[in-house]
């Protein structure tokens, strides 16, 4: 069906092309419209999931709430409510103290990189278990949070 439509467009284009410059303009308009629709569809697919929990990062060097509970496959969104740069880092290899980061077996480490004032980050948790994460610049000042991921209900 789509191929047939394109065929008609192209044939029509060829016809117009033989006529005058207006033809070119029309072809371009049609092509751009088709492209824009395709891009729009892809963006729609990638639109972030609605988070199951939202955690604020503050000037008091806290994650609020410090502990959230979600189900496997759900997403947590972190939002900066701070003038400072923070990170959301669930990676024991990047922790100054081993006890500040923990992942359940089979879970992959995650790290937001620098989140500027007003910025945000989100992560989808697939493996159930308890995740302990921290902020790289403020780990020493106790900026640590916990995500508890329960098995997904069927």
């Amino acid at each position: 069906m789509v191929e047939r439509a394109w065929l008609i467009i192209i044939r029509f284009g060829e016809y117009l092309l033989k006529q005058q410059w207006v033809g070119l303009t029309i072809i371009w308009v049609l092509l751009l419209a088709a492209g824009a629709e395709g891009i729009g569809r892809r963006v729609g697919e990638a639109t972030p999931k609605k988070p199951a929990a939202v955690v604020k990062m503050t000037d008091q060097l806290t994650f609020e709430p410090a502990r959230v509970t979600i189900k496997a496959g759900e997403t947590v969104r972190w939002k900066s409510a701070s003038l400072l740069v923070h990170t959301v880092t669930g990676d024991p290899a990047l922790a100054a103290k081993p006890e500040d980061a923990a992942l359940p077996p089979g879970a992959k480490p995650f790290n937001s990189g620098n989140i500027k004032p007003g910025g945000q980050f989100q992560h989808t948790f697939k493996v159930p278990g308890t995740y302990r994460y921290f902020c790289i610049p403020h780990e020493g000042a106790g900026m640590i949070g916990v995500v508890v991921v329960q098995p997904a209900t069927t």
Binding site: D59, Q60, L61, S82, L83, L84, V85, A96, K97, N114, K116, P117, I136, P137, H138, E139, G140, A141, G142
Partner: protein, 332 residues
Amino acid sequence: MKRKHVFRRNVIIFVPGLLLGLIAGLVLSAGREAPAVTRQASGNMAAIKMLQALAPARGYLQAHRGVQDPLGLLGGPVKVRIRQSEGGVFVALPDHRRLDKDVFGTPRLPRAYGGTPGINGVPPILRDVQESRYTVMKKKSPFGDKYIVMADGKLRLEAVDATATDAAQSHDSVRMEASWRDKKGNTYTVQCCQMLATHGVEFPTFGGVVTNHLLHGFTRLGTALMPTEFTYFAFWGMGSVSKNGKVLDHPRLVHGMLTEYVRTQGYRLAFDREVTPTRQQFHLMVAPFKPVMKEGRFIPSPVKTGFTLPNGVELPFWHVMFENLEVKGRRG
């Protein structure tokens, strides 16, 4: 950095540390009250002189401050570059410092009491005691747990550590500009150094710049009110304090240092056993006192910061922490 860096030959008589102002302020305000208290004040002054004479580095400094051609660092000069390009800063507010037993000892066996009170040690009389333990320093200082966050912290610093020891001259250099912005949109800037402290009076300044050294706390290099901290880079010199591009105070003593992380839960200033060795922070200090060159001592002089505290008083110092850093250092 608009101001061209001046290669410093000048000798600054330099008492590093911060609380002389507070102590002298106490003495001066006491002196205004009554003649009887004036006698007590002169007694305090004599006590302060006795304490100053006990500064542990006096002999070392006497041997070094006249050196005209000091030796260089083993392995050659170290060049340092530090930047913060985004993110806020922590601005310390006056507070009572909790006293670490590892630094200050116990009432039975006090440590770290010599030198200008607070600048170097803290005399026992200024320490609160509870159940045979020291608790806090009675007077407020720039070294405590209270802080506010300000936006848009920017730091640009380039420095060379070439000269090893304290001396009359130095080949060290520092060019620094640091700024941050308050809620009302005012921008505060500190620039340094038109001159470096080529030697100290109460403790060494290593030509003005020092790298890879232990400072503060039990070392008695700088105030004992800061915890003992490994310091990758530090400087002491004379600079300027501005607000919205207008110089408010100049010249002022400026001290900066890149250290391991010395804040703990809730941004409390750490005790020695609480520091995080594998994280870094940069501290900037503009001290509330000024040197009297001829006398080799300092007089209290609150910094004109242009920033008013909620109680209506102008913040008399800047003690600002930068924690989103890019650091580069190399030899040669």
